[in-house]
Amino acid sequence: MMAHFNWLSELLARYQDEHVLVRRGLSRKLAPAHLLKIDAEDWGRAAQIAAEFGCRWAGVWAEQRGSTLLLNAALAYQGDHLLLRTRVPLEAPQLPSQTPYYPAASRMERHVQDMHGVIFADHPDARRWTRHNRWATDSYPLRHDFAVANTPLPAEPEQDYSFIQTQGAGAYEIPVGPVHAGIIEPGHFRFQAVGETILNLEARLGYVHKGIEKIAAGRDAHGLARLASRVSGDSTVHHAWAACMAMERAARIIPPPRALALRAILAERERIANHLGDIGAICNDVAFIFAWQQFARLRELWLRDNASCLGHRLLMDCIIPGGINADLSYDQVQQLLDAIEPLRRELTSLYAILDDHPSLEDRLATTGFLSAEHAKRLGCLGYVGKASGQDIDLRRNYPYAPYGELEVHSPVLHTGDVEGRMQIRMQEILASLGLLETLLNTLPEGEINTPWQAPAENSEGVGLVEGWRGEILCYVNFAKDGKIARYFPRDPSWFSWPALELLIHDNIVPDFPVCNKSVNGSYSGHDL
């Protein structure tokens, strides 16, 4: 803990030197995150200083408290987290933007602008983001005066959203989506191209915005866990864990050791299932159907073990506030253990084929290159960051129970290409199999739930877990009677979507699918 304390003192000294007035929040309030309250006018400068200091930007969200809007920005340093907090009046909600210092902040600030009506004064791009003209310009869904059942405005073609244009001989535009050719989530992509070469890609997301933040308010803790399970269906375990961790911290409840170990078992199983699917899908996107079918087969067997031992193929609704809704019998522990070595053998033979297949190498290596500098500035997490030199893994850097007792091996590469992002997944599967063996062999006996007790009004908590796409940050604040006042889940996809737009530069249009799959951002987890 000493190292964590030191960096913060140094940052605070920096703030003092620069005359940014900082008040430390109660250390317990949002533990383990540190809370720093600053003046709204210092919002931009505080970010500038943090950026120069080397902090990673990890999210921004707002919350109405009476006649003021509370703004929170999350920063991270060596796995440790810091919340900057300020207030602006509801009738004049204006403050400086953090985007000039952290490009990662751009779209999330635009989300706050659309949902809460906050004006980020010097934001370089003030276009709407989450709003698609179906609610009025001067109404903001996450304010208290906006009814959850508000009737949407009539659908009209969106003609006022100006995409970046390219001009010149031979330059042309390809609009794609929101409905795509495959079985995937919807989003719009606007390509500017010359011949087959992509000059620019701009994404327009928000199509699966379904009001998650709004409908979370007023739910009880168990209702929020169900909703969190559906923020992004492929990350149901990790989003539910992050939400429950935030609620448990707010309520000062610690789940029993067996529940925490079981959560980690579910989490590693979710990581493996998704990575297996992604490796196959990446190969499929370059027409290597053999690998697609093989990895789809392994994924299917893995999901069947989920169903037979844990009751749900994707492990939905297994994590609940205070503990877990799925236990393993002795026989089931053995069944899951017995499946590990065969999978490892299968992977060894398949990895040998992937590594020794020149036409695959030809399509994946150097394709979709993301530099370490860009990955850092965009705050890229998970396999996108790790393939571009960003060695961030919460399970190792800031371990939450039960990871503190485990040795987490997190791979890192510097190639930054599609192949690198696939390699990270391949290595993570093997690392997770090792973790699963340890977790299953040392599963503590005992209870799997600590009775849930709702905390007092204004009890807040921050949940942080290392999802299979990278760090998930989740904020929860309670209202009266154990109801949720505010829920904000920040999926790592917020940072990988802008990365996709950079790494696609100078690639050819037919390589977009494989580049996109190598990043595999969540639409639902981003659109909320």
């Binding site: 906006f146 079985i183 989530e185 269906g233 939905m316 084929i353």
Partner: protein, 172 residues
């Protein structure tokens, strides 16, 4: 190449028979007749995520793995609604996908069938109706069949698709 061929040989043939179920067997018979009669033995599905959390999509994907191998029934997924007989819709209908759903529906040739896949598409599910969600797909376009589940398993999806085929095969 030898390694690949070897692996394929070791993997063998994995496609499973559907569970023995008198209803399903009957459906299977109707299906073969139905697909042959109405769709010339070839049924095209276009999927549309109208606001899903992506869990339904993962399970729809699984229909194409070796175990379920839905193509054995002449059922395959197509890239364009213009080639589709069935629109398989997932998710509560997000307000932002309303126009896309209507355009996709309009682009399909008749006769067309709509299946709402999963609890959200069937009844709104966990998201229900709000400023951002129109809930069940049937609130906007006519739905011929619904498949419950959150998400429905590949088997449930397959049964749902087979059932609509059976009903389509009946003379109206």
């Amino acid at each position: 190449m030898l390694k690949i061929l070897n692996k394929i040989r070791q993997t063998g043939f994995l496609t499973e028979d559907l569970p023995t179920d008198p209803v399903l067997e009957q459906v299977g018979e109707q299906l073969r007749a139905g697909v042959a009669l109405c769709f010339h033995g070839n049924l095209a599905i276009r999927t549309l995520d109208a606001g899903s959390c992506n869990a339904c999509e993962l399970e729809i994907h699984a229909l194409n793995n070796a175990y379920y191998n839905i193509e054995r029934y002449g059922v395959h997924f197509v890239a364009s609604p213009r080639h589709a007989d069935i629109l398989l819709v997932t998710g509560p209908l997000s307000v932002h996908m309303e126009t896309a759903l209507q355009r996709t529906y309009a682009a399909m040739p008749a006769p067309k069938f709509i299946i709402a896949a999963g609890d959200c598409a069937s009844c709104g599910g966990e998201f229900g109706c709000s400023y951002a969600s129109l809930g069940a797909i049937s609130n906007i376009i006519p739905v011929d069949a619904s498949i419950p589940g959150c998400p429905p398993t590949p088997l449930q999806l397959m049964q749902g698709i087979l059932q609509i085929l059976a009903s389509a095969a009946k003379p109206k």
